[in-house]
């Protein structure tokens, strides 16, 4: 089990990672997600021993690393999949995968499983991006690491390839049965692939929980906005799990003990919209998305809400509409900011 206690990393006088705490179960895939420069790659490099840490400790069964006692990368038994693949250009695919193996049977296993048989004797220069990433993954897993770090493994690949390879990587990690930390800046990737998701901002872990919890009960407004389209509707806390709004009552769950005047987090799927001359809002803009349409509606009190409805529902800009809250699960409420 990988444990990170109170980890901080500084470059000169700037602390880029602050007091990070993590614990990873045996075959768990943890996604770290955040905007550019939030310190997610630095965390991986610190865990791999590629940058020195300034505070805290990292431990994994057989070893423990701290600022005073640094364990070199090769002693950590960690696997890393790099953004630029980092395949050795002078070695063949097979030689890359077997880099430090004495027994090649495990290499054969991953070569077969990841469909690399045909390129076994090719040099990396001749492979496509997706093939290179498979080789990098096979090389990492064949060396039987105690945990795997993935540094934006899909960011150098085409959009079409990302979707399928994302699942291929997750399945391979699960098949190997190793814990993994996967860094990405793509929130959709984070929510769909991870067992748990950690959202980072400015080197601080804002929330660490299951994808569902992070999405529906974000720890704060930053997390709420980062993980998807979010609207905030003024509301008043009536009971412990009930708010009243201009759109009527709604089930609610208070974040950080919010009470009194609050803002209700509404995702585009929590709302309904019907054309009604006596409605409570006016359509500002509409985005056609193929299977659905996303509308922005200004309520009469000035709040802007975004709502996603079926593509059959066609309402023009400037039409008056009636909005309603359709969801039955509790919605997150935040203390109103003044």
């Amino acid at each position: 089990m990988l444990k990170v206690n109170n980890l901080s990393v500084s470059y000169g006088s700037t602390r880029v990672v602050k007091n990070l705490n993590l614990a990873l179960a045996d075959d768990e895939v943890l996604m770290l997600v955040g905007p550019t420069g939030c310190g997610k790659t630095t965390i991986l490099q610190a865990l791999a021993g590629l940058v020195p840490i300034s505070e805290g400790e990292i431990q994994l069964g057989s070893w423990q690393s701290s600022p005073s006692k640094i364990v070199p990368p090769e002693k950590r038994n960690v696997g890393m999949v790099f953004q630029d693949f980092a395949l050795f250009p002078h070695l063949t695919v097979e030689q890359n995968i077997c880099f430090r193996l004495t027994d090649n049977s495990l290499a054969d296993h991953w070569i077969k499983l990841l469909g690399l048989e045909a390129f076994r004797h090719a040099k990396p220069g001749r492979l496509s991006g997706g093939q290179k990433q498979r080789v990098a993954l096979a090389r990492t897993l064949a060396h039987e690491p105690s945990f795997v770090l993935l540094d934006e493994p899909l960011s150098n690949l085409d959009a079409a390839l990302k979707d399928s390879l994302r699942w291929e990587i997750r399945n391979a990690l699960k098949a190997a049965g190793v814990p993994a930390i996967w860094v990405t800046h793509d929130q959709e990737e984070a929510l769909s692939v991870g067992d748990r998701v950690g959202i980072l901002k400015g080197g601080v872990l804002e929330q660490l929980d299951t994808p569902e919890t992070c999405f529906s009960e974000p720890a704060n407004r930053f997390v709420a906005r980062f993980l998807g389209e979010a609207s905030f509707l003024p509301a008043h806390m009536e009971q412990v799990n009930q708010v009243s709004t201009v759109l009527g009552p709604a089930p609610a769950v208070a974040v950080n003990g919010a009470s009194g005047d609050v803002d209700l987090l509404l995702r585009p799927d929590d709302l309904s919209l019907i054309l009604a001359p006596d409605g409570n809002g006016v359509v500002q803009w509409v985005r056609y998305e193929g299977g659905s349409r996303l509308y922005a509606v200004n309520l009469d009190d000035g709040t802007e809400l975004k709502v996603r409805v079926s593509h059959e529902n066609h309402v023009a800009i400037g039409d008056r509409v009636r909005m309603g809250i359709t969801t039955t699960h509790p919605l997150a409420v935040f203390q109103r900011e003044h």
């Binding site: 070199p72 950590r76 696997g79 890393m80 980092a86 050795f88 430090r100």
Partner: protein
Amino acid sequence: MTRWPKSYPLALLIALLALVPVGVLIGLASDTAELFDAHNLKVLTNTLLLMVFTVFGSVLIGVPLALITAYVQMPWRKLWLVILAAPLAMPSYIGAFTLYAAFGPGGEIANLMGVPTPSVNGLAGATLVMTLYSYPFVMLTTRASLLSLDTSLVNAARTLGMSMSACLWRVVLPRAVTGIAAGSSLVALYTLSDFGTPAIMRLDTFTRVIFVEYNAFGLSQAAMLSLQLLVIVGLVLFLESRVKSNHEKPGRHLSLWPGFWQKLSMLLVVMPITLLAIVLPLLVFGVWLLREGTGGFEFSYAWNSTYASMLAALFAVILAVPVAHAAIAGRAGRWMERVTYLGFGVPGIVMGTALVYIGLQLPFLYQTLALLVIAYILRFLPLAVGSVRSTAEGLDPSLVKAARLLGASPREAFQRITLPLSLRGMVAGAALVFLEAMRELPATLMLGPTGFETLATYLWRVYEAGYFGRAAIPGLLLVLMSALGLALMLSGERRAEFDVTEDRHR
């Protein structure tokens, strides 16, 4: 985090050694009373005129050829490029020697065909020869910047109603100015340091006069002249460092499709250059070979050249490794690397003067092969450093990280990843030093032990003695060496500087 990289102490030592020749010259020159006299002024004027005219001529030839080789689509583009770049690989003294012998009353052309031709000598002759052998600097650097220019600006200008020729003049060339300037400063440095051409053309430039002073035992006067020449070299280097490179986002470059008459006129422009620079020397050597045979030539000359050059190549690469790694490691290391580049700016004749003096002070070195090899190393170390550094820099740092994470110790990662991937650069660097040392003339003349005749020095003695015909074998061997050097240069190891491959911007 103030840990010094392991390569620093060694690199620092090598950098300090590279400074020794200049220090020696300053010490030596302080003995002479004359700082500057009337004859000096003449020498200075000749040197500067030769430099300016050669740069001008090189730009005049090099820039249009760069446009043609970069943009014009025609059959055998690579072959054209190789032929047009070839003069760069030949030592200019070969050209000077053969042109001097071919033209003029009593020259080979008059002898064989009875056509009277004007003599090639003096300032005009030296300018002609230097231009013929240094325009490829301008052509290659300009071509590299032309290839990095995105064609979209030209397309924009054309759709705004500008003609193609106006586009080339007003949209394309202004953006290639840094390439032209870089090539021009290389030409200027090459011209300043060249000894053979002004010596054969009997033009009193610094290099020729330094050699005359040295032969007249005026070592301190030679040192003073050397320092004056170094000041001009320093000035050119300073100007070069002021040229700012503008980085545009590279894209697909322009392609031009010429018609028949355009192709023909391009051929007519290119032909005389190639005829004079390559075909004529080969013909002259061929005629001499037929007329005089191999008389006077001894195999030991070729062996001496090879032996000394091999030693220089070997040690230059060994020394280049710590310098290159220091240069990558940090700021201080980059300064150490810069200092070793000093040797490249020091003309061979100046390096020779400094080392002759060192030899006189240290009798165990005087008249030894070691001193000559040291001179080669000090001069050509930058070639090895550049070659080693560019391959080492091309190494993706995450490769070593990946090896470490797979469980390799730093030592194993170096042996299995870093070393095999930088071996090509080391071999290429050694080969470049070897070929340069084979062709080096002035330092070899001054420092070669008594009786130690090389191809280049034998060629010089033959010229001095007037037995031109005996130059055929050493001349042809030197041309062969140059061809090998060219092949190596084009093989892609030095792609960064002289980009001759077609699709750098795929």
